[in-house]
Amino acid sequence: MSDSTVTETNAADLSTPAESSSLEDVAAQFADAVAAGAAYREYQAAYEALQDDADAKALFAEYQRRSNYLQAAGQWGGVREQDEAELERLEREMSEHSTIARYRASQAALVEELRELNAIMGEELGIDLAAMVRPSSCGCH
């Protein structure tokens, strides 16, 4: 094996995926790096625990049902005090439920990590990927 062959082999080994792969490949590699991280793994585990916890799922579903109802009622001014109190009670119950609390905490940690990654991308590139891609409307109107 000649020296030049060794040099070429080493150079090939050192080539970054960014040089040899498609944009979609590199995007997939980025997603895989996120998925391999502790925050994502904890989020997945917490999500699965939530799916396996019938009590938590029922509480979550009830909260979302009430929350959606209140949001709709708010549009036409039909929010009653007892509806708000009921939602607050459910919110308290959820925050005290270990499976839900774990899921929410893992979700918040993952979102924070994703925002940090997006901020790094913004600094490196000068483009905010998330802001350019996500819908400009919040969907409220």
Partner: protein
């Protein structure tokens, strides 16, 4: 944040930076900022908006003022440099959307929605 993720996002940013759509966007941004004719129009527009707000608060705003603003707005938006910037932004958004689809499919949720900085919609 883990080192592997930091490296992956930097590599991803570098790859996006190599895309023709990115170069086009940066050139369009540069042209938008440096075109003196467009700069003058934008300055006029900003001044007019300010004047019209003052008139509105004073109750002296007339239909002609609004028409003047609309005309100026059309001039700014219809300027070749502005149109190129809009098209370059749309092209870039398409490229990034493709990436977002790949990432979101792998993660199981919409990446862009989660990664975007928190923003109040004001609703």
């Amino acid at each position: 944040m883990e080192a592997a993720q930091k490296e992956a996002v930097k590599m991803f940013a570098r790859k996006i930076g190599e895309e023709p759509a990115t170069r086009r966007l940066f050139e369009a941004r540069e042209a938008f900022e440096s075109n003196s004719e467009l700069y003058a129009l934008r300055l006029d527009y900003t001044r007019l908006v300010h004047d019209l707000r003052t008139k509105q608060s004073e109750g002296t705003l007339v239909e002609e003022d609004v028409a003047e603003l609309r005309t100026l707005e059309q001039k700014v938006n219809g300027h070749e440099v502005t149109k190129e910037l809009s098209e370059a932004q749309a092209h870039m958004a398409d490229v990034l959307q493709r990436c977002n689809t790949v990432i979101s499919e792998r993660l199981g949720f919409d990446y862009a929605s989660s990664a975007a900085a928190q923003r109040s919609c004001g609703c």
